[in-house]
Homo-oligomer: 197 residues x 2
């Protein structure tokens, strides 16, 4: 028995499934990949893949090392008072980027989406099907998909300016300063008049 | 005489200066590069470099094939009624990205900044010294540098979502829909209460 008390076979199976998932998503995109195909490539039973990773979205999150779960974001939104949702999403997003470990993983996702058209397509489909879908269900409004992408566009721009290009005033601003500047924007995108339906 | 009526020597000198400028900016960064050093590397007189390209910022814009000039943006801001500046900047930005030629050049700038730390540093210094400096002079407010980066963060996020990741509702939205959604954000960043000073 290993010191951590886990059978080595379990770790091997997990990484075989993750390797198979990365290959399948890269070759066939997000929509073209099934749990069944990943299980076949990894030489395991589909039920085992479900057992380890849950649904396809969760397996994708694990395979690309995406450092947050759409389901956790949904929980935040559902728990939030609608009037606070913009601020809560912003604080959660900043916490992910301000942590050096998750920042490194987020940077890798952004870099591959900007470099490779195929990675951008897979990320887009994932965001569209899972993250935006999650928002849409949480917001329960006819224009929720537009609102979700407006929020996303401000968050990714903030990440580019603060963590990638590192523009001086944003790179060194405190969380509270960023909340003062950006929370009203996100709140308007979520629940205000945005003129697009 | 060539059909276009330009002496071949002039074109050769221009491209020698641009090549020298790219090397100098890559080796020594934006701040560490002088017109004099570029002229020396290109084997021409500094006055000739000034004559062809103007100031260092304009030469940088030409060398990296940056598809817009900070001076043109300054002109827009100065001509604009302060209450319309957000919408005007947005329309100018969308026109640059919606044109396939300038879009290709902007994509190259974004890609190199995301891929190479050195390119991000040079872009940051350029944006900070020239573009943000330009905004600061135009806005003439103590927190103009913060306001400029807030505007920039929303514009780059819009570009990432619409033109790089191509999220469905944003990728296909009309200019008027984007103006309805984003112009109020940019206007608040330029002239509203943003809580950071």
């Amino acid at each position: 028995m290993s010191p951590a008390g886990r059978r080595p076979g379990k770790t091997d199976t997990r990484s075989a499934v993750l390797d198979a998932a990365r290959e399948c998503f890269a070759d066939n995109g997000y929509d073209g990949t099934t749990i069944r195909a990943i299980a076949r490539k990894a030489g395991v039973d589909p039920a085992l893949v479900h057992h380890f990773f849950g649904a396809k979205a969760e397996l994708f999150v694990a395979a690309v090392d995406f450092p947050f779960s759409p389901r956790a974001m949904l929980a935040t939104l559902l728990e939030a008072n609608a009037a606070d949702a913009g601020e809560l999403i912003l604080r959660q997003f900043l916490a992910l980027w301000d942590d050096p470990t998750t920042r490194r993983r987020l940077l890798a996702v952004v870099r591959s989406a900007v470099r490779y058209e195929a990675a951008a397509v897979i990320l887009r489909t994932f965001l569209d099907r899972e993250l935006i879908g999650t928002f849409v269900r949480a917001l329960d409004a006819p224009d929720a998909d537009v609102r979700a992408t407006l929020v996303g566009s401000q968050l990714i721009g903030l990440a580019m300016a603060r963590y990638i290009v590192k523009l001086p005033p944003l790179a060194t601003a405190s969380t509270e300063q960023l909340v003062a500047a950006y929370a009203p924007t996100l709140q308007r995108y979520l629940t205000g008049d945005v003129g697009i339906v």
